[in-house]
Every structure is written in C-alpha cells, then in structure tokens.
C-alpha cells in the first residue's frame, strides 16, 4: 500500500505542477487557412448569403493592413473599408467587430449588408480581422481584441473621423471590444453602440453549461464582462438578438446586457425564431438595414 500511496502522491505532484492550463484560448476559433480575401468570390461558408442586389462598387471596397501594438508585440492586421476613404472626415462610420469564428470573408456578407444601410455606401464601414484571424499576424488574446480594435480607431482618426461620427457594432465575440472601448474609450469615444447577440461574460457561459453557480475563474482568466461594463456606457445603445439563439442564450446573455444598460437611449430587437448567426436573414434584410439606419440617424 505504501508504494501505491507514493505513486499517488507523485502523480498528484505532477498534476499540481502542471496546473496552469486555462481555457481562454478556446474562446477563439480563427480560420487562417486562406491565401487572400476573396469577398464576393469567396466560395466557403459564410454567416449569411446576399443576392447580387447588395453588391457594392469595387471602387468603394478597400482591403489593407494596419499595425497594432500590443505592448510592443506589433502585428499587421487586415482590414476592409467600404466607402470613400477621402470622405471619412465627413462620413459616419460603422466599425464592425466580428465573432469568434472564421475570418473577414466569412463575415463579408454581413459587412456588405451594413454597406447597404441607407443605400449603397451611405455610411462608411470598417471591419478588421483580429490578430490571429485570417491573414492577420499574431495570436488571438483578450487584450489583442482591444488593441486591434483601437488600432482601427486610430486609422479612422488619422483619416479624419471624430467621436461623434463613430458607431461601433459588435457581433457575438465582437461585443467584447465594442463594449470595452465604448465604456473605456481609448483613441476615440464612440457615439453609439450596437450589439448583436452579445455575451454577458464567461461566467454566464460556464453557469449556463454546468447548471451550477460556478465562478468563471474556475475555467479562465478572461476579464470580458459585458454584463457589467455596459453600465458605464452612456451613449445610445442598440441591441438585437435572436430568441432561438442556441449559442448565446438571449435570456441569460443578451437580456442581462440590455437590462444593465443605463444610458441615455436604448432600443431592443428580439428577433423571433432567429438563431445565433442568422438574425439579419430571419428579420429580413430590408427590415434589418432599416432598423440599423433609423438608429444611426436618431438624435437622442
């Protein structure tokens, strides 16, 4: 028995020494097996599908790179701007922050749909692949999301954008940098916040999945906490969520974020029957773009 106990103690010591595994990296599911961004010619899976009536002039689609600095860790990240770059000093711009899977091609129809809000290129749209996504360099991290988003804001500011014409739109994982950089502004203070299918926090995810009140720290070191950060947001807030979202439950995630907002104006769109990724499609593209346009134009 002594030998068994010795073996057991050694085993536990080894396991204890290796107790540095965390689940944070599982938050990100980037796709990097691409050799370029194909946009309308991309033949892989996309979140939604648009017909040709939503096509935009090639001359208003710009693919380029930005340099993002994460404490000296410089990464070239890819971005797409829809609109006339020379008019950023006059236009209102939507900064679109995508979800945890894929890359910009995967979200291209969503980006293009926003480019159709109010008519072709009525509003500028900027989207980025966070570090480690698509062709962007680096590895995804929580702070990486924030500095990459801030790098996008710097680019917009360098091109003449001011706080009052910046609207941030975060989808799913993108709700984290969207909320964080609206609640705790860095380069620019967004004038409006739009969240589609946001998650409240990793703690809600853990509790939903386990059925128990376990703290999020049991699983990860993530500090993403949209459910609390939203309390700091004063700017007008647009929330849209599918009632049948089987990935980020509308009740436990979206309603919490929406309910904790205490700013000057908010509107909620609970899209009946929509899942996590098909809210614009289920709502109807005309209805979706109209709702987005109306929010962009409100002056609360």
């Amino acid at each position: 028995m002594r030998r068994s106990i010795t073996t057991l103690v050694l085993l536990l010591a080894v396991l204890g020494l290796s107790s540095c595994l965390r689940l944070d990296p599982f938050l990100y599911n980037p796709s990097t097996d691409i050799d370029g961004y194909y946009l309308d010619d991309f033949d892989g899976e996309t979140e939604i599908q648009l017909d040709a009536s939503y096509d935009l002039p090639d001359s208003t689609t710009h693919v380029f790179t930005l340099t993002s600095d994460l404490d000296g860790d410089l990464a070239e990240i890819y971005a797409i701007y829809l609109g006339d770059i020379a008019r950023i000093a006059q236009d209102t711009v939507i900064l679109y922050l995508h979800g945890n899977a894929g890359h910009l091609d995967y979200y291209w129809p969503r980006i293009k749909l926003l480019g159709n809000v109010g008519g072709n290129n009525r509003f500028g749209v900027l989207a980025i692949d966070y570090r480690g996504y698509g062709l962007s360099e680096g590895t995804p991290t929580e702070e990486g999301l924030y500095v990459d988003t801030d790098a996008a804001m710097k680019w917009l500011k360098d091109n003449g954008l001011t706080d009052d014409r910046l609207v941030v739109y975060g989808f799913s994982l993108g709700s984290a940098p969207a909320t964080e950089l609206t609640a705790n502004a860095r380069t620019l203070q967004p004038s409006k916040l739009m969240l589609e299918a946001p998650f409240a926090s990793d703690e809600v995810m853990a509790q939903d999945a386990s059925g128990l009140s376990i703290p999020g720290s049991f699983l990860s070191n993530l500090q993403i906490d949209n459910g609390d950060e939203i309390r700091k947001v004063e700017e007008p807030f647009f929330w849209i969520h599918g009632t049948a979202d089987s990935y980020l439950n509308m009740e436990t995630h979206g309603e919490v974020v929406y309910g904790n907002y205490d700013g000057i104006y908010s509107e909620a769109h609970r899209v009946e029957g929509a899942e996590h990724s098909d809210v614009p499609a289920v709502m109807g593209y005309p209805e979706y773009t109209k709702a987005v346009e109306e929010f962009l134009l409100i002056q609360p």
């Binding site: 536990l12 107790s19 965390r22 599982f26 894929g102 995810m205 703290p215 049991f218 993530l222 979202d245």
Partner: protein, 224 residues
C-alpha cells in the same frame, strides 16, 4: 458550420457527477481502498460525439460494518488550477439476509478552491444506491441509483437568480470484483429536468434535457 468550441464546453470539467460511484457497497471494517475514475459527459462537437475526460483519484476506508468514508481529488480540475475534492459517508441502509441485495446511502459534499482568484464553492451531494450480487459465488455487482447535488448559492453572475436548487442524476453500473481489485463501468444521466437546447454546448442526450456520460473506475483494496 464553423466549429465553435468555446470555454463553456469545458465547464463540464467541474460539472456534477464527475466520477463513478465511490463506494457501491460499504467496505468491510478496517478495509482500505484506493481508486481512480475516468469519464464524463459526452458532447457533440463538429457533428461527432466527444467524451469529456474527467479524472479523479480517491481513498475509502471501512469505519465499521456497513459504514465507510471516502475522499477524492479531481485531477482534471487540478490541471486547470481548481482544487476539487469530495468527501462522503457511505451507510448501509438495508441488506438482504442472503447478503446479495442492499441499499447504500451516501451523503457528502464537493469542495472547490480556485488557485487563480481564490474563489470557493461547496456543493452538498446525496446518493441513494441499490446493488445486486447477481451470481451466488461471485462478488460482481450490478448497481443503480439516484442522487443529486444541491445548489447553496442563490445568485449567479450579474445578480441573476439561480433557479436550480438541485442537479439530479440517475446511475446504472456494473462493478467487477475480484479478490483485491475491482473495475467499474457506469452510465449516468444528469440534469434530466433542465433543457439543454439553448446552451453553447451540445450535450449528447436522447432528449433536449440534461446530459449523459460514461465513466470507468478501477480500485485496489487493502486490509480485507
């Protein structure tokens, strides 16, 4: 579909009922037993079933005839920086005169301590199991039972109300028993009253509730 493995899937690492039944039939007085358990709930990932590998080691001791104690350490949780321990009493409620049937009640608790942010949790647990030594001259046991974890915390993240007071499960298993070694295989179905169709994780169950899992255990007895 793009895969969307995300951290809540592995919330299962600390999910209730994460080991085989520690003591099916109370040990003999003075008997010691060390054991290991591996297995867990199954999820559907990228269209394929994926078992979650929960592991633990345990020690049990026969305090008296029909009364044992056990304590376990959950090694998978430990690898993730969480000390998860369980401790239980195992009391014989009833045993047939021919010693081939019996009922065992096991009150206990699971304790969690997170080394990263020093968060703690305690979840009481009660199991009620029945065993059947189905062959006269063999010690092998068929067993089954019901049990539950109990939620002591009424508040969840962001001030939301925890409306699950219990996390019940049913078990069905077989324990092969030889002189000093034993081997268990056990199926569990847990959280059967809770819907699972609007969660980030897709549990492998025949219904839209709870989750099912398969567990294996091996034990070595001393001092019999």
């Amino acid at each position: 579909m793009f895969k969307r493995l995300i951290l809540p899937i592995t919330a299962l690492l600390v999910l209730a009922a994460c080991n085989v039944t520690r003591v099916v039939k109370p040990l003999e007085k003075g008997e010691h037993q060390v054991s290991a358990s591996l297995g867990g709930p199954a999820i559907v990932f990228s269209g394929a079933p994926l078992p979650i590998p929960l592991s633990s080691v345990a020690y049990a001791h026969g305090l008296d005839t029909g009364l044992s104690v056990s304590a376990g350490l959950h090694t998978t949780s430990l690898m993730f920086g969480v000390a998860q321990m369980d401790a239980s009493l195992h009391a014989r409620l009833w045993q047939a005169k021919n010693d081939r049937f019996g009922l065992t009640m096991s009150p206990g608790a699971h304790f969690f301590y997170d080394f990263n942010e020093q968060n703690t949790r305690v979840y009481p647990q009660v199991d009620l199991g029945a065993w059947w030594q189905y062959r006269e001259n063999k010690d092998h046991l068929l067993y089954g039972g019901v049990g539950s974890w109990f939620e002591l915390y009424r508040e969840k993240a962001h001030g939301q109300v925890q409306d699950h007071e219990v996390l019940p499960y049913v078990t069905l298993g077989h324990q092969f028993r030889w002189d000093t070694w034993s081997f268990q295989v056990e199926a569990r179905y847990l959280g059967m009253f809770y819907r699972n169709d609007e969660l980030v994780v897709t549990y492998l169950t025949p219904f839209n509730t709870g989750t099912s899992g398969l567990y294996f255990g091996i034990g070595k007895s001393f001092g019999k």
